[in-house]
Amino acid sequence: MNETVIEPIELEEAAYASDVSEPLIKRNLALLGHVSVRLDVLVGSAQINIEKLFSLSKGDSIALDADLDAPMVLQLDGKPIARGHLMAVGDSFGLKITEIL
């Protein structure tokens, strides 16, 4: 009967940086196609003072600095990536893209 040797594994020390400058994984978003990202739409801003902020109650409105027909900004991780117009698509919001890089 063969006897199995059981012993601890000795790990090799990892180098802090490789000498090879060529990236191993090419910058190809298709590889990450399944990854979800959260998007925000910047609707508009307004300047108010602290007193006004603390006096707002449910149902109060404040006008924003954006015109009704102005495109909204689509943000990814807080960075603007596209502009578009807000639409209703069934019961959900949609954004018709007017500008994107």
Partner: protein, 259 residues
Amino acid sequence: MTSEIRFGWLGEARRAALRTSIAAEVMDWSRAWWMHHAPGEVDVRSIEPDSLYSKAVMPLVSANDAGVLVLHLNGKSTDAIGRHLAGAASDEDAGLAQRIGQDALEDLVLRLRRKAGAMKIAALCPDVTPLALEDARLGAYAVALSLGRMELGLVIDRRLADCLAPSSAIKSVSLVPRQAAIGHAALTVTAVMNFGSINLSQLSDLCVGEVLVGDRRLEDTLHIHVDGHIAVANGHLRRQGTKRAVMFDGVSSQDMQKP
């Protein structure tokens, strides 16, 4: 001796009031005594009392119950001061120049004492500087007086300072609660719609004209952020005339998030 020392640092408002009071008297005095009086060349500025202190040169001291005043002549004799005031360049009539200098300095002290409400006359004699006039921490207040190229140092003690610029005469600034003071500070509120999550593959293919559909329902609320930080409230998208508006619905609680 320590019983004579009154501890009492003068605050900035008191020092400013003292400088104004002394400057007004010096201006009047120089008009009366200085032949080449020119308002632009008369200057009175606050200095530290210890910057005038010197063991080598004895100042002129005027002391009585109403307070102590010390004049530093910066190495000049009273006749040199008299000549400067009289606009005389030569050394002739040294006796007259000395009298003019002495009388002028005594008159300056008298004017300041009168302004402080003290009617008693106190002689102006060479003496050592009292300890209480060597340091601002002991309530001393000092100014440098410039009349053209002539510069004198003047130090008064706390008693005289209290009379020249009483603390009651300094208008006290009433404080307001911090909450009231910040009430008018401007803030930027930003309405942000959480559009939902999409796959990067959808994003990479996105083109102009396409409609990106989020997973937020039409009735879902917007987040109201203050100065780019956490969401403080929720609201609904509305219109006010030609502008977009947001109607507040409630405070943001569980779903507070950064924009």
